[in-house]
């Protein structure tokens, strides 16, 4: 049963001093969803977030919240709260006062405020931190105070602008789990912005891949990973080998000097295409077997797997495998039809 999405962006465009930051964006966000805007710097993901928050006004288009047009509504009247990239905690207030800021504006009584502050501090694992000063906190703690400050206002939607960027790796992974847990527990819609594809894959229900102000693909993490719509998405998410090829006919593609069977249809005869093969999908076989022959150029131990570069037919293939062949050895490569992804050539630069 189609329910009204909680947020809808319709034909949103935004220009900054002549540069087009957003070009005709259309997007809807469902209730209780963890949606991530993913893309490289400058793709427009933060601008989109700020338009939802109300800090930027779109040049054209409409923003709907629960069905109502809020395009011109100022940020302090919207039922969304933001967690800023560098926390933006108020330095002249302690932790409790920071968190209570929004509650005081709503004119709640002191007892209620005290209780809510304590509750939300417990939620982010900072029990007892009320009187601490902001400067005395570590990066991770400041981050959690920023989250607490936003959540205590019980917003319908929480916006997060690359909140974990300044944290070290271990802390970041821990926080990712925390955020996911909180989201599931509170049932709030999260709109998350990041350039880290691994983060997006880990946390999201839905990923929106953006580039140069346009949406490239929307889908679940599995969909985006396994069926990237074009070479940019394929390249941005996970590692890939992207090779130019030619579609001879349905289910037959020519690349790297050989014809390969594949599973994609719907292309024109002899159409130029991009062929994407994931490094973990290339199998190492003894020389002689397999469609391609090549020589191992480098081997790097990555812990989880070996990353090898094998040169074959003038192409450097990246391969992830738990097996290892030493540098200089000749090796065969086999690629199964279902692991060959064909995509239309897109003008990407």
């Amino acid at each position: 049963m189609p329910e009204e999405p909680i947020i809808r962006l319709v034909n949103i465009s935004k220009n900054f001093d002549g540069t087009e930051a957003l070009k005709d964006i259309n997007l809807y966000i469902r209730k209780n969803e963890f949606l991530t805007l993913l893309g490289p710097s400058g793709c427009g993901k933060t601008t989109t977030l700020r338009i939802i928050a109300g800090f930027e006004r779109p040049d054209s288009g409409t923003v709907y919240f629960e069905g109502k047009d809020i395009t011109n509504l100022p940020p302090y009247k919207r039922k969304v709260n933001t967690v800023f990239q560098r926390y933006a905690l108020f330095p002249h207030m302690n932790v409790a006062e920071n968190i209570a800021f929004g509650l005081r504006i709503k004119k709640l009584d002191n007892k209620t405020i005290e209780r809510k502050v304590a509750e939300v501090l417990e939620l982010v694992n900072l029990k007892g931190f009320e009187k601490r000063s902001v400067e005395s906190l570590s990066g991770g703690q400041q981050q959690r105070v920023a989250i607490a400050r936003a959540l205590v206002n019980e917003p319908e939607v929480l916006l997060l602008d690359e909140p974990l960027g300044a944290l070290d790796l271990k802390l970041r992974k821990g926080m990712q789990n925390e955020l996911k847990r909180i989201q599931k527990m509170l049932g709030i819609t999260f709109v998350y912005v990041t350039h880290d594809q691994e983060e997006a894959l880990t946390m999201s229900d839905t990923i929106v891949v953006m580039k140069d102000g346009t949406i490239q693909q929307i889908g679940t993490p599995e969909m985006i990973y396994n069926e990237p719509k074009n070479a940019f998405v394929a390249d941005f998410i996970g590692e890939s080998n992207i090779i130019p090829g030619r579609m001879l006919k349905d289910k037959l593609v020519y690349f790297a000097g050989h014809e390969f069977e594949c599973v994609d249809t719907g292309f024109e005869h002899n159409e130029e295409v991009d062929v994407v093969v994931r490094p973990e999908d290339i199998k190492l076989v003894p020389t002689g077997e397999g469609m391609l022959q090549g020589e191992v150029e480098s081997v790097t131990f990555k812990g989880v797997h070996y990353e090898m570069i094998v040169r074959s037919e003038g192409i450097n293939w990246m391969i992830h495998s738990t097996l290892m062949e030493p540098v200089g050895s000749r090796i065969g490569l086999r690629i199964l039809p279902q692991d060959i992804h064909i995509m239309k050539k897109v003008a990407i630069k």
């Binding site: 302090y76 800023f84 560098r86 108020f90 330095p91 002249h92 800021f101 929004g102 206002n153």
Partner: protein, 268 residues
């Protein structure tokens, strides 16, 4: 090392140069005789005469009143101005800031003269001649730019996201201004206030041109007396001023080093 000794001697000479005239002033304020050449005995009579002199007392009152009033008013207008100017687009901001610098850069005699022209020119319309009020207006005028110049750097240092965070949490722009921005820029505001107060107390030239014949401040009083020659009453006045300044600076300095043991030196 020789260098060290030379440095010390040089410094002492400089300090001697700086303080000798002042010490002389203080010493001779207690001198029985009028002349500065001879010492004829210790007396406090010049101080007594000073306090009995209504002209001086009135000048002192004017000086303090105008300093306090103009400092406060200039700080209010100037802080609001800095906040507004900070948000302006580049061209408008440049024009406003350049005009703001004008009273700062201009020799005070030009500022004084032009303000006098203004007050005299508008007298037929406002019915107000040169006097206390015009001097006050003049002081506010030259104080505001210094307040703006003190507050602007603090505004520049502000994290822009903090204001947005306040709005995001439901604060109206005015609430955010009151509770978030002003506390953050308070050091700049206080500096501006003190600066304005100091400049006002010390001003002579602009006051000279913008006040009427009846109203004077301390500086004008000293000027008119000094033109007639040496007068130990001025010595007495100077001594009092010196002692006050000394006391104030000591108090401020001890407070600063108490609150902030690692404070940089360079007290202003």
């Amino acid at each position: 090392m020789v260098g060290r000794v030379i440095k010390r001697i040089y410094l002492y000479l400089i300090f001697l140069f700086l303080y000798a005239p002042i010490i002389m002033l203080v010493v001779y304020s207690f001198n029985e005789s009028r002349s500065m050449g001879r010492w004829s005995g210790f007396t406090l009579k010049w101080y007594a005469e000073l306090f009995k002199d209504t002209e001086v007392m009135r000048a002192l009152y004017n000086t303090l009143a105008i300093a306090i009033l103009s400092a406060i008013i200039a700080t209010v207008i100037g802080t609001a101005a800095a906040i507004g100017i900070h948000e302006m687009k580049r061209i408008k901001k440049a024009i406003v800031m350049n005009l703001t610098y004008l009273p700062v850069i201009n020799p005070d005699i030009v500022t004084g003269v032009s303000l006098m022209l203004l007050f005299v020119f508008t007298k037929p319309f406002t019915g107000m001649g040169l006097g206390f009020f015009t001097m006050l207006l003049a002081h506010i005028t030259f104080n505001i730019p210094y307040v703006i110049l003190s507050v602007m750097p603090k505004l520049k240092q502000l994290d822009k996201h903090i204001y947005e965070a306040a709005l995001d949490l439901g604060a109206t722009p005015f609430y955010a201004l009151r509770k978030i921005i002003i506390p953050q820029i308070m050091p700049g505001i206080v500096t501006g206030l003190l600066l304005a107060f100091t400049l006002s107390i010390d001003d002579f030239v602009i006051s000279f041109f913008t006040t009427g014949s009846g109203i004077s401040n301390i500086a004008i009083y000293v000027y008119s007396m000094a033109r007639r020659g040496i007068n130990p009453k001025i010595n007495a006045l100077s001594t009092i001023m010196f002692v006050t300044v000394l006391a104030l600076l000591i108090v401020v300095n001890t407070r600063m080093s108490r609150d902030n043991p690692k404070a940089k030196e360079g007290v202003r």
